[in-house]
Symmetry: C2
C-alpha cells in the first residue's frame, strides 16, 4: 500500500519529485507569500512528508533561491531570444514591443518562477536576495541599454525612470492579466502603443 503510491505517482506523473517540489513551492510562495507558506504545506502539495524535502534541498531558503534563479534565467533567455529574432533594421517601437512581449511571455509561461521576483523577492531573507541580486542587475542592464538606444532624447535619469516605470507596469500584469483573455503579444501592444505614441494620441 505504501509501496503503491510511489509507483503510481511515477507512472501518472512524469515530473520528478524535485521538479514537482520546485513548481508547487513556486506557486505557493507566489500566492501565499514565502513566510506564510510552511514546508508542511509544500509537502502536502507534493504528497510527501516535510522531512523528504530536505533530501532535495538544503533548506527552505535554498529552495526559494533556486526558484528565483529559474525565473530570472527565463526572462534573461527571453530577452536574448527576442533580440536575436529581430531584423537588424527593426524600428524602435518594434524593438520595444518585441522585448516587452518577450518579458510578458516569460512572465506568464514560467509564471510562478518569474512572478516570484515581483512579489516574493522584496520580502525574501537577506541572504536569498543577495544571492539573486547580480542576475537581476544584469537583466536590468539589458533594458537600460535598450531604452537609451530607442529614446535618445532621454538622459540617464529619464532612462532609469522609464525603465522602472515600465517594469512596474509590466510586472503588475501578473496581478491582473489573465492569459485566457488574450495573447501576451496583444497585451504588449496595448502597453507599448500608448506608451510610445502617448495617451494624447489614443
Amino acid at each position: 500500500m505504501v509501496a503503491m503510491t510511489t509507483a503510481a505517482r511515477k507512472t501518472t506523473n512524469p515530473e520528478t519529485g524535485r521538479d514537482r517540489i520546485l513548481r508547487e513551492a513556486a506557486e505557493l510562495f507566489l500566492t501565499r507569500g514565502y513566510a506564510e507558506t510552511s514546508l508542511r504545506t509544500i509537502a502536502d502539495a507534493v504528497d510527501m512528508q516535510p522531512a523528504s524535502i530536505y533530501h532535495h534541498f538544503e533548506s527552505k531558503d535554498a529552495l526559494l533561491t533556486e526558484i528565483l534563479e529559474i525565473g530570472m534565467e527565463a526572462v534573461t533567455t527571453a530577452f536574448a531570444a527576442a533580440a536575436a529574432e529581430l531584423p537588424p533594421n527593426a524600428s524602435a517601437p518594434d524593438r520595444l514591443h518585441a522585448h516587452v512581449a518577450a518579458h510578458l511571455e516569460a512572465l506568464f509561461s514560467h509564471h510562478a518562477f518569474t512572478a516570484a521576483h515581483v512579489t516574493v523577492f522584496p520580502f525574501a531573507p537577506a541572504e536569498v536576495r543577495a544571492a539573486t541580486v547580480p542576475k537581476r542587475d544584469a537583466y536590468e542592464a539589458n533594458w537600460t541599454a535598450l531604452l537609451s538606444a530607442i529614446a535618445p532624447g532621454l538622459d540617464d535619469d529619464g532612462v532609469s525612470i522609464a525603465r522602472l516605470a515600465l517594469f512596474g507596469a509590466m510586472n503588475s500584469t501578473v496581478q491582473w492579466f489573465d492569459p485566457a483573455n488574450g495573447s501576451t503579444s496583444d497585451l504588449a501592444a496595448a502597453i507599448v502603443g500608448p506608451l510610445w505614441n502617448g495617451l494624447a494620441n489614443s
Copy 2:
C-alpha cells in the same frame, strides 16, 4: 525606574502609544513583510511588551487592517483634494499630472501606510484583504473615470489596462524613488510626460 520610562516617553514623544504602534508596525510590515514581522519585534520598536499591544488592538490582523485603511484614506483624500484644486478648464495632461502627483505625494508622505497596499496587501490574510477591498475598489473607480475622460479614444479594456499599468508604474516608485532626490511633482512630470506625449517624442 520603571515609572520613569513612562513619564520620560510622554514628555519626549508627543505621539500616543497607539499612534506609535500604528506607525512603527506599518514601517516594519512594509520593510520586512507581515508574516515576517512578529508582535515582539513591533513591541521592541515601541518599547513595550508584546501583551501591551493587545490593549490597543484586538489582534495582529486588526492592526494591519487599520494600517491599510489609513493608507487608502490618504490616497482617496489626496485624489479628491487634487480634483478640487484644479481649475474647471484644466487641460487633460494637467489633470493627469495633478492626480499622479497627488497619488505620489500621498504615497511618500504617508509612506508606510499607503505603500503597504502595494507590497503587504497581496499576502495579507484573506479576512484582512476582504475588509479593505471595498475602499480599494472605490479609489480605482476614481481613476477609471479620470482616464476615460481624458483619453476618450480608449475603450473600456484600454482604460483598464492604462489604469493598471499606471498603478503599477506609480506604486513601484516606492521601491526605487527617494524623495530626497527630488519632489514628487517632478517625479509625476517625469512619468506623465513620456506617458502623455509618448516615448517617440522624448
